[in-house]
Amino acid sequence: MAARFLSKSSSGSSLLGALGTSLVGVGSVARQTTSKLTYSDIFFQQQRTFVQMGTKLKVVDNSGAKRVMCIQALKSKKGAKLGDIIIGSVKEAQPRGKVKKGDVVYGVVVRAAMQRGRCDGSHVRFDDNAVVLVNKQGEPIGTRVFGPVPHELRKKKHVKILALAEHIA
């Protein structure tokens, strides 16, 4: 099962040595505007999967961190989806912030490239993987949230993040 997820990893994230094999992510090729579906077109139609161990996520609040690498997706063996909580390690941080590089933090996935089904039958998907850092109680560490957030957070009881959001998708 792990091998299957390796093959489906999104480009840009390299799965770590703990899992053994390393896979060259199928990167997005320059997009063509021909009308026929060529060989290279198939390569950038990516198969998006869960946020799992090793996934690098963008931090979209002002807590100080810039990038976080997921080390554990809570509540699911497969991985985290939109609205789930993950444990991450801060890989890149701003010099003066509430968190430093190397910290282990909790985060809520607010944007996921993998589509999530809504209760009315539709699916939503975002452009990138983004996370908002929270503490163990689920309250955000930062004071601002950038970019759109889904209203799936309301069901997951992350009301504070919704209150800080500038746009709810």
Partner: protein, 167 residues
């Protein structure tokens, strides 16, 4: 429940269908099916893709301006529920769509009628000029019923004056 329009092909998206893509600038793109979604990912411009409504409207293939489109404008103001109003609207919707369909059909037949006339003209010309490929001219001379009646074509005198003299 709201019936949305597909961003790429402009068809209606019924509940339970399609994917919604939210870009980081908070713009939402809705697609009716994966065909439209994949075309969007390929960065194709719907105005250049022949089967979309955007192309057809832009190139005058489909009706663009009509009073029936006014009924379908998106109004963001929520309306208080009024039973009589709702009943009237539900009765009016099939009538409006019928009128719209007939008008669209009329637009298309009007657009295609020009080609029909030209094709007929071309057929007549071909018949007059190349009938010798089918029947021998001597046979045509004997039997008057086999030739088309001669058509009178009025030529304005101004045209004949402007034609240059043949050397």
């Amino acid at each position: 429940m709201r019936l949305e329009k597909c961003w790429f092909c402009s068809s209606t998206i019924y509940p339970g269908h399609g994917i919604q893509f939210v870009r980081n600038d908070a713009k939402i793109f809705r697609f009716c099916r994966s065909k439209c979604h994949k075309n969007f990912k390929m960065k194709r411009n719907p105005r250049k893709v022949k089967w979309t409504k955007a192309y057809r409207r832009l190139h005058g293939k489909d009706m663009t301006q009509d009073s029936t489109f006014e009924f379908e404008r998106k109004r963001n103001r929520p309306q208080r529920y009024d039973r009589i109003n709702t009943e009237k609207v539900l009765q009016a919707i099939p009538k409006i769509s019928k009128v719209k369909a007939t008008r669209e059909k009329a637009h298309i037949t009007k657009r295609l009628s020009v080609g029909k006339i030209n094709r007929k003209k071309g057929d007549r010309r071909e018949l007059e000029q190349s009938i010798s490929l089918v029947k021998a001219p001597s046979v045509l001379k004997e039997d008057a019923t086999l030739t088309l009646p001669k058509q009178k074509v009025t030529v304005s005198y101004a045209q004949t004056e402007n034609t240059p003299m043949e050397e």
